[in-house]
Amino acid sequence: MTTVLLTDITIFVLALLVGFEVISKVPATLHTPLMSAANSIHGIVLAGAMLIAVTAHDALGYILAFVAAAFAAMNVVGGYLVTGRMLKMFRRSRSPVPAADTAPAVSGNGQNPAAGQRGASS
């Protein structure tokens, strides 16, 4: 048992406890964005993937570095963007109200803001 390992275990346990404390306060409404945010955060393994490259100097090392970097970057970028996209949809009140007062056409307009955003972002 080395001191380094002991320190690592201490950090791990404390971080777990902080995680339980902080995350138990997230309301059920936000559990899906929470999971995708978690996806983005465990993308930190990108740092590990980059450090592979430091010592890579044969085909195997390069392949591992490449795949690991691709996997991790997918998490970082995808997790962040999709979380942002979902959170943008959570509104306190039915957004652009003006459209909602114009009789039958309302049905389409009521949804347009959301639809428009989807279109714009894709």
Binding site: I23, A28, H31, M35, V67, A70, F90, R94
Partner: protein, 467 residues
């Protein structure tokens, strides 16, 4: 420790702080977006710090740089594309894929480290964390891919078992455990590869027999695994940022797993050991007979339009029919008439934790109207009409009695509303495979139709009442 090491370590601490603050800000929809930005700032800081570390090491070959950057760009591009184009109904699949690649990347980091060290002898503690990382990472990788396949409908959603599947599962676990013990004594890359193969097999045979209804638990559990794998990767390469971030994700996944399992009144072990889905549903409870009242759109519309308070109870059927926009439209028309509308969201209404909330938010439903089970249950007693759409087992009053497959499951107290309208295609059973006693309640009327069509009809009918 050189000054450079000090600075990089402190920057890693700063980025970990950003992750914690970011998650903390997710405690309310009002601040959640800022939370996501804070997390991202932490991530950018961590990546920049690592870049500095890598450059400072000075040992990276040109090929190494190219490989690293190309990989990151490719993965980042794939993530960007997926994040922008994914339908909200397909979010569980995407999260599963993200779990898979996260677990995979964590396993690869440990594999690389081990392969490099194996020739020169590996410290026991490094071997143990490597094994843990590779095991958890590989199980997450294959298990999440199977889960995503099931959610996407590429693999049948029903529990899949083949003769000897349990045996294969146990054998894979035994091989992995045996290999692990051998590796601690004698460093060996070959054994590591055997362990990887066994773990991949275990992941597949673990998820295949799990039914569609249990998916919220499975995704949460695999999310927790991914976090743990990343933390183990942090142990292997001695990086605190990975340990802290991995632990945070592990905690998050763990909490969600527990919440989902509790919401179905099932233990996690029970779900993993398997086969709830369709098969082992226990003896069917004597249904109260076929005395259900059906209702036409016009009558249902009158009930809704002249109610003071309506609670909408959406279930997975609503999401499957992609009818979240239609239900939001009906709610809007009712609100214009002065009806108080809210939504009762059961924790497992959807295919992953919180899924239904996202679908309704996409349909422009304001989040204060989305009520959690504990919050909304006391309100049913003073509700004129409860409108149940595509939800079944989570509304079955039989859950309050012992002795049937849904016993003890927390349910929405829909039966306490003054009247109940159920939109449903047929009298088919839910996942638990039993009759829903709510349907036979004298206060209940059944509107037999698909969710989308029924809601459109209802909305049109309510509108004519206005005129």
């Amino acid at each position: 420790m050189s000054a450079f090491d000090w600075v990089t370590q402190l920057l890693y601490v700063a980025s970990a702080t950003c992750f914690v603050l970011g998650l903390h800000l997710m405690n309310s929809p009002a601040t959640a977006r800022r939370g996501n930005q804070v997390s991202t700032a932490g991530m950018i800081l961590a990546v920049a710090t690592t870049l500095a570390l890598v450059a400072h090491a000075g040992t990276v070959t040109t090929t190494g740089w190219i490989v690293m950057i190309a990989g990151a760009l490719l993965g980042g591009g794939a993530g960007l594309y997926a994040a922008r184009t994914v339908e909200m109904t397909a979010m569980p699949q995407l999260v599963s894929i993200f779990n898979a690649v996260g677990g995979g990347a964590a396993a690869l980091v440990a594999i690389d480290d081990y392969v490099r060290l194996a020739s020169g002898g590996v410290a026991e503690s490094t071997t143990i964390t490597t094994i843990l990382d590779v095991l958890i990472g590989a199980v997450t990788f294959s298990g999440s891919i199977i889960a995503a396949g099931k959610l996407q409908g590429l693999i049948g959603g029903a529990p899949i078992t083949f003769p000897g599947s349990r045996a294969v599962n146990i054998a894979a676990a035994a091989v992995a455990a045996g290999g692990a013990i051998y590796m601690i004594a004698t460093p060996s890359v070959v054994v590591l590869i055997i362990i990887i193969a066994a773990a991949l097999t275990f992941g597949v045979t673990m998820v295949l027999p799990i039914g569609g209804a249990d998916m919220p638990v499975v995704i949460s559990l695999l999310n927790a695994f991914t976090g743990t794998a990343v933390a183990m990767a942090g142990f292997v390469i001695g990086n605190w940022a990975l340990i802290i971030a991995g632990a945070l994700v592990g905690a998050s996944g763990g909490i969600l797993t527990k919440l989902m399992a509790d919401a179905m009144n099932r233990s996690i072990r029970n779900i993993i050991v398997g086969g709830f889905g369709t098969g082992d549903s226990g003896p069917a409870v004597e249904g109260p007979g076929g005395d259900v009242r059906s209702i036409a759109a016009d009558d249902a519309a009158i009930q809704l339009a002249y109610a003071q308070k309506v609670i909408i109870v959406p279930g997975y059927g609503l999401a499957a029919a992609q009818a979240q926009h239609q239900v939001a439209e009906l709610a809007r028309v009712l609100e214009e008439r002065g009806v108080e509308v809210s939504y009762a969201i059961h924790p497992v209404a959807g295919r992953m934790p919180g899924h239904m909330n996202v679908l309704l938010a996409e349909a422009n439903v304001p989040y204060p109207q989305l009520k959690e089970m504990d919050e909304i249950n006391p309100e049913f007693a003073r509700t004129d009409v409860a409108l149940v759409i595509g939800a079944n087992d989570v509304t079955n009053p039989a859950a309050r009695r012992p002795g049937n497959p849904v016993s003890g499951m927390p349910i929405l107290d829909v039966d306490q509303a003054k009247s109940i309208i159920v939109i449903k295609r047929s009298m088919g059973h839910g996942y638990a495979g039993i009759d829903n006693e709510l349907y036979a309640d004298p206060k209940t009327s059944m509107f037999f139709s698909d969710a989308k069509g029924a809601l459109t009809e209802l909305t049109a009918a309510v509108k004519t009442l206005v005129a």
